[in-house]
């Protein structure tokens, strides 16, 4: 016998689809089938069931081999590491729930640590930009119900957010967009002819690294000012046409991704894209939204925001919160050799940071809390496997448009495994003792 659970939330990307159906065994121990999810989400649910899964903490031995240790030993190692460090970095948080993040922040405050999430290598520049000039945005349902102009700028939902176009942005028939895709014009800006670009009404194949100039040219066009013949590899006439297409819609949206945040100009690309959005509001209604990657990187930013006032790259070392990417951001902290201990949770800097930063992680005391084996666990001194959030434990998460959705538990974790929140709570309580606060 099996039972089917509905309204299950997918813990993969920032699209945070909440319409999944999952078939589980009657005893709630095995996950049998997943419906409605994309191929990546399906894999995430199914992989949690693999037999070769690591279910107990492992401590790296001098010869490089792993030794299984108890959770209590892992708690002790982690608490000691944090208590003894002058400037520990507590990085990740984007693939766990807000409850775990909250306990982590208590630990960071006690330890005098730097706290950062994966926005550091994803939409950090977006945060810098919105701090400079704001962010006119909306929820994804607004796109579905109203939008007739869709721009994908430096993002490739066909690959990175597989259900985005079908659930929210291109195909759905909304309240004022009854004809679905026929109600919308789609513009893609990308240096490659991506699988998303292939679906577009207009594709501007921008010269890589010149998005800032192209965005500026859009605004020059809106002001009917002089333009050079070609900008960023695109003829001026084509830019003016595209600008008019945006102007002539009733409700437009710019979605953007790492194509602009990780390219030269970074925050400035987003800054000018936001300025363009604001500019277009002089002619019609326009919004802009980052395509957030990890399913709860947004939640980490929100919780950091209300608890400390800054959404990422927060430095608590002096007993108060400070923020300045370039100084307090993970990549710079590691590249500059500013931190002396690395605590990684719910993310994989080993795979996604430049190797020069990973080399510093390998040099200093380090703990990696992650259900998977990863390059990060591979270079860390202690690996603590935990339950999969969104599969084996619920909790709150925030979608790319900041909409909070309470995730659901669908199966039990393997016997004796702790969740992020449980492990962190033990570390917090032990650290309290070490700091003489309990």
């Amino acid at each position: 016998m099996t039972k089917t659970m509905t309204d299950v939330v997918c813990p993969f990307c920032g699209t945070l689809c909440d319409d999944l159906e999952v078939v589980v065994s009657d005893d709630g121990k095995q996950l049998k089938e997943v419906y409605n999810a994309c191929v990546i989400g399906t894999e995430k649910f199914l992989h949690s069931q693999t037999k070769d899964r690591i279910t107990r903490p492992r401590l790296k031995q001098p010869d490089g081999s792993w030794k299984e240790v108890s959770y209590d030993e892992a708690v002790e190692y982690t608490a000691q590491m944090l208590a003894n460090a002058k400037k520990p970095l507590m990085y990740g948080w984007s693939s766990t729930n807000c409850e775990a993040q909250s306990v982590g922040h208590e630990i960071a405050e006690m330890a005098g640590a730097c706290v950062d999430n994966t926005a550091a290598v994803c939409h950090g520049p977006t945060v810098i930009a919105l701090q400079d000039i704001g962010l006119p945005s909306c929820t994804l349902g607004e796109i579905k119900n109203r939008a007739d102009r869709i721009l994908f700028w430096g993002c490739n939902p066909a690959h990175a957010h597989p259900r985005h176009m079908s659930r929210y942005s291109i195909y759905p028939r909304g309240f004022f967009t009854g004809k679905g895709q026929k109600s919308r014009k789609m513009i893609v800006v990308d240096p490659r002819v991506t699988d998303t670009a292939k679906l577009a009404d207009v594709h501007l194949q921008v010269e890589q690294g010149r998005d800032y100039e192209l965005l500026n040219a859009f605004r020059v066009a809106l002001n009917n000012e002089w333009l050079p013949d070609v900008v960023a590899g695109i003829p001026a006439a084509k830019i003016r046409e595209a600008a008019d297409l945006c102007k002539n819609g009733r409700f437009g949206i710019i979605f953007f991704g790492m194509g602009v945040t990780q390219t030269l100009s970074k925050n400035h690309n987003i800054d000018e894209a936001i300025a363009l959005t604001k500019h277009l509001n002089e002619f019609t209604k326009f919004s802009i939204m980052p395509m957030r990657g990890h399913y709860n990187v947004t939640g980490s930013g929100e919780v950091l925001g209300w608890q400390f006032g800054f959404p990422y790259s927060v430095d608590l070392t002096r007993g108060f919160a400070r923020y300045n990417p370039g100084d307090t951001s993970s990549i710079d902290l590691l590249a500059r050799g500013e931190v002396d201990a690395m605590f990684t949770i719910a993310s994989d800097p080993g795979a996604h940071f430049p190797i020069s930063c990973v080399k510093h992680i390998a040099k200093i005391p380090s703990v990696c809390i992650d259900p998977h084996q990863t390059p990060t666990s591979g270079v860390s001194k202690l690996h603590v496997p935990v339950a999969f959030v969104g599969v084996e434990v619920g909790g709150n998460a925030y979608r790319m448009d900041n909409v909070p959705i309470d995730m659901r538990k669908v199966v039990d974790p393997p016997a004796g495994m702790l969740t992020d929140e449980e492990f962190l709570t033990k570390v917090r309580d032990r650290l309290k003792q070490l700091k003489g606060k309990a």
Binding site: N281, Q307, F310, A321, N402
Partner: protein, 570 residues
């Protein structure tokens, strides 16, 4: 739970008509009891030469939720050099105009505020609002979901379906654990979905073919049909524009003929909020002037209306409102960073930093209007002090506003300090107003009044035996002459604050984080299959989350709820 007896203080309690007489206040098990019933074990607090009041109640502030947090996140400069370090009883706390949740709780408590209402909860984001309230220590909080641009409401009211509107409102209050029915720029915010607005109560809402006036009257009727503790709480159309006082009067007039129906002792059917922003004359910023008198002439007569002031505090702050089109208008004026969030089927929000500069005459006139409203109020039980935090200024400035209201000298000094004081004086009545509010007036405007308007006078706002033991002792002697700044100092840092019988603040410092509760209204209505069908259909077709996930609001998000029960099944 411990017992206390607060001895020999000058007590100000409108619920018992006590106007500064010496009296003892006894506390046991979280409640106020007769001082005769207190045991010898009770801890004695000497309040000799001090002022004793009930805990103050914030009736309208933006302190938790998506737009507040976006404000925090997008203003790192608001935190710069403001931070307070971790202490034995407090987390680290920072921010000026949009403080962190921890600082929000601490600062309210230190001023003697023990209950606060978040003024605009987008229903789709209720989980977020509740998560932040959970992390706001000490004070009890509730939140008002916004209804004035809600598709269900507009569709039902277009057909004058009051019962269905009421059933939907009750469902949404349950789903979001909300406290009251809030309207923000009714119809205008839906129009903003297309970049448009409704600037009068008769501008039709695009597509929905209904007017703001119809929405307002319909929601008054639904609110009284349900008999909710609070009345509708309205931010009217046309906020912040010269000449908007006529729109405000048109809005107020819609209350005519309605009588409050509820079991909570509430008498008003409409609460009009941050009235300062809606009392403007002139037709340009050049001939901008105060119409506080015209507004208060109406309010003083209309017994079924309450208002709050929205006092400008002359600070650099962060404006944030569900009035999306207004914030766009504002960023076009001051060119500062603009954030906007349109929320599917429900509402919107905008954020723009703003500097109320004493050297700009418009800001001085706004400052005067807010004070005039309170000084012209004939019934302090129907006019409450707010700064519409953080819109007209941060709530941490309440002690300064109280100083201005209690001291004509403080007002005259400020008028002299304006760069264009002559302009401020000629455009307002403030210079000639010598009324100085008494501590009893203040107790009505910040305690008993808001409690009655919110329909929670049996719990809060007074010191009667049986009420919650929310008690404040201010180091201020009403018998002694005092300089204006002593008023501000005393109200900034209370000598003692008790929340539900627990001493949470001593000598202006947090000593205990209390047992914070979330107040919400559980209105039971008759089964209404049609409304449930409509809800189901809208979720399937137009929402971007499923109904089951929209309704999910687990214990981990609202750990300590306090439901006010309403039975509207009859």
């Amino acid at each position: 739970m411990s017992e206390y007896i607060i001895k020999n203080g000058h007590v100000f309690d409108p619920t018992q008509g006590i106007k500064g007489d010496k009296a003892d206040i006894a506390i046991k098990d979280g409640k106020i009891i007769k001082d005769s019933e207190v045991s010898s074990k009770a801890k004695v607090i000497d309040a000799k030469g001090k002022t004793v009041m009930a805990g103050a109640i914030e009736i309208h502030a933006h302190i938790a939720g998506p737009k507040v947090n976006l404000g925090r996140i997008y203003r790192p400069e608001d935190k710069l050099f403001t931070y307070q370090s971790t202490t034995a009883n407090t987390r680290m706390a920072g921010g000026f105009s949009i403080p962190t949740t921890f600082k929000t709780g601490y600062e309210y408590a230190k001023m003697g505020y023990t209950t606060a209402m978040e003024a605009a909860m987008p229903p789709l984001f209720s989980r977020h609002v509740h998560e932040e309230m959970r992390d706001t220590p000490i004070i009890d909080e509730g939140a008002y979901p916004v209804f004035g641009n809600n598709w269900f409401v507009m569709e039902y009211l277009k057909n004058k379906e009051i019962e269905n509107t009421a059933a939907y409102c009750a469902w949404l209050l349950r789903a979001t654990k909300g406290f009251a029915i809030k309207l923000v720029n009714p119809g205008g915010t839906e129009a903003w979905g297309w970049g448009l607005n409704c600037l009068s109560v008769d501008d039709p809402v695009p597509y929905f073919d209904i007017t703001p006036a119809e929405i307002i009257k319909g929601l008054i009727e639904a609110n009284e049909y349900l008999g909710l503790p609070h009345s509708i709480h309205i931010h009217p159309n046309n906020l912040g524009n010269p000449g908007n006082y006529t729109t405000t009067l048109d809005t107020l007039k819609l209350s005519a003929g309605y009588k409050a129906k509820n079991k909570f002792g509430r008498e008003q059917v409409m609460h009009l909020t941050h009235t300062q922003f809606h009392s403007y004359g002139g037709d340009t910023w050049a001939n901008f002037e105060s119409k506080a008198k015209e507004i208060m002439d109406f309010v003083n007569k209309a017994k079924n209306v309450t208002i709050d002031t929205g006092n400008v505090t002359l600070d650099e702050t962060t404006t944030m409102t569900a009035d999306g089109p207004f914030e766009h208008h504002l960023t076009e004026l001051n060119h500062l960073k603009w954030a906007n969030v349109d929320v599917e089927l429900e509402t919107a929000a905008g954020i723009v930093p703003y500097i109320y500069s004493p050297s700009i005459s418009v800001c001085g006139i706004q400052w005067a209007i807010g004070l005039e409203l309170a000084l012209m109020a004939k019934d302090p039980m129907r006019c409450f002090i707010t700064t519409d935090h953080p819109n007209a200024g941060p709530f941490t400035r309440y002690p300064r506003v109280i100083k201005w209201l209690m001291s004509n000298k403080a007002r005259q000094d400020q008028i002299k300090a304006f760069k264009n004081s002559d302009k401020v004086v000629s455009a307002t009545n403030i210079a000639g107003m010598d009324r100085e509010l008494s501590l009893y007036d203040i107790a009505q405007m910040t305690r008993a009044g808001p409690a009655k308007s919110l329909g929670i006078p049996s719990m809060f706002g007074g010191l009667k035996p049986g009420m919650d033991a929310d008690v404040v002792v201010y180091d201020f002697n009403p018998d002694k002459p005092s300089a204006p700044d002593q008023i501000e100092a005393a109200f900034s840092r209370a000598a003692h604050v008790f929340k539900s019988g627990i001493e949470v603040v001593t000598n202006g410092e947090v000593v205990n984080n209390g047992h914070k509760r979330t107040l919400w209204v559980n209105a039971k209505t008759k089964e209404n299959p049609q409304v449930m069908r409509d809800v189901q259909e809208k979720f399937i077709k137009y929402y971007s989350v499923t109904q089951a996930n929209y309704e999910a609001l687990g214990h981990h998000i609202v750990p300590n709820p306090y439901a006010i029960e309403v039975d509207a099944t009859q």
